[in-house]
Symmetry: C2
Subunit: 89 residues, 2 copies
Amino acid sequence: MFATLSLPEGWKAVQAPPSLFRRFEFASYQDTRAYLERLAALSKETELYPDLGFGTTYVNVTVYGKDGGTPGAQEVEFARRAAALAIPG
Amino acid sequence: MFATLSLPEGWKAVQAPPSLFRRFEFASYQDTRAYLERLAALSKETELYPDLGFGTTYVNVTVYGKDGGTPGAQEVEFARRAAALAIPG
């Protein structure tokens, strides 16, 4: 029904899909870049591509469910592994 | 199910409720304040209280449905009237 509402001009219907979120902080830009590389490899392996926002010393990771659906077991497993990759080894 | 997922430490399940959004821009801080006053009166009358964010020359209005539900006819009517209040009269 939300999609079919006739909205007054200039208004936007907003419906962000459910997601899992975590911010990872790093000591240096080099560490941040290294984490992004590891995350890219994890995405390639799992075919799960989260939204990423990053600055010199942080990466914000937002994991969505498939096709705008609710995150499930696969996304939770991705979240677990993404966190493990952020630990300096 | 989303609420019952067992998340890895540090992750947050994010589910923003659906909403209607519009940004209104004004020529001056005085106009912005006047609009906020009119909006407050509309909220009091309708008992609909949107989230507001504003700076010197803009107001961002986010209208949610009741109890985290989907915005419906009442919220659309609020949106229409909120827009009418933004027109210099």
